[in-house]
Amino acid sequence: MAFQLLLNLIIAFTWMFLYSAWDLPSFIIGFLVGMLILIIVRRFFNGPLYITKIYAVIKLILLFLKELVLSNITVIKQVLQPKLAIKPGIFALHTDLESDWEITLLSSLITLTPGTLVVDVSNDQRTLYIHAMNIDDIEDSISSIKNTFEKAIMEVSR
């Protein structure tokens, strides 16, 4: 992915050299032309095009922000209701992610999710221990973590 981006930059600079124009508009035009060329020759690359990855990254950021707002609404509801109705507990979650940065990203996403907070990561990095505000809807939170976050992170990483 980094290689494709570098190639695109090189094409943009070649474009600027060809026109001998050193300003932002010609760089942007060259970058777009390079993007077009990369789309045409995409069958020579091993991985997917980097544009699809950038789309996945943007989707992940939007998911991050959405979860942040939702979790705040949950916290406001829990804190401001007259009688505390929380039922806390710690549960284990098995994860399929492998590299360090993926697990870091997943745990910060979980921490910003409504009602969950990562307490520990096991030594073999296969299990996350999560403190939940309401242990009753544990199945829901597990499936939502599995389906939305892990999938979104996997779309970025492979």
Binding site: I76, S108, T111, M133
Partner: protein, 125 residues
């Protein structure tokens, strides 16, 4: 309504929402029973509260001084660091033996930590 007034209204709403969230964080810190639940309130509401106030400042100063990149960086840094801080505080609390609230239901981590402590004390002897 002129453009200036609209921005002012947006800024006012953002600041009020941010301060409200900070207030909720404080109430949560006082009301919730144990450190882990408090960490829920602190790591989530405080993040969004500070982010909204910084965003309001960004929009407010955009009218006169243009885009201030340092405020954007501040928003990003707060977003990245505060969940990690919440995680580290609760982890340190768990490993130094702070108990969960009595009415907690489930504790999957307990066995793992005890196992670790046992192997550590075996290694010492």
């Amino acid at each position: 309504m002129s453009e200036n007034e609209i921005t002012n209204v947006i800024v006012a709403i953002l600041v009020l929402a941010g301060t409200f969230l900070s207030l909720v964080t404080t109430v949560g810190l006082l009301r919730l029973p144990d450190i882990y639940s408090r960490s829920h309130a602190a790591s989530k509401s405080a993040t969004l509260g500070v982010m909204l106030i910084l965003l309001a400042a960004l929009i407010f100063f955009y009218q006169d001084y243009g885009l201030d990149a340092r405020l954007i960086l501040g928003i990003i840094f707060v977003l990245i660091t505060s969940p990690v801080a919440g995680h580290l505080i609760s982890r340190a609390a768990y490993y130094s033996g702070v108990p969960l609230w009595e009415q907690s239901v489930q504790d999957d981590l307990k066995e793992v930590v005890e196992e670790k402590k046992r192997s550590a004390s075996n290694a010492k002897q």
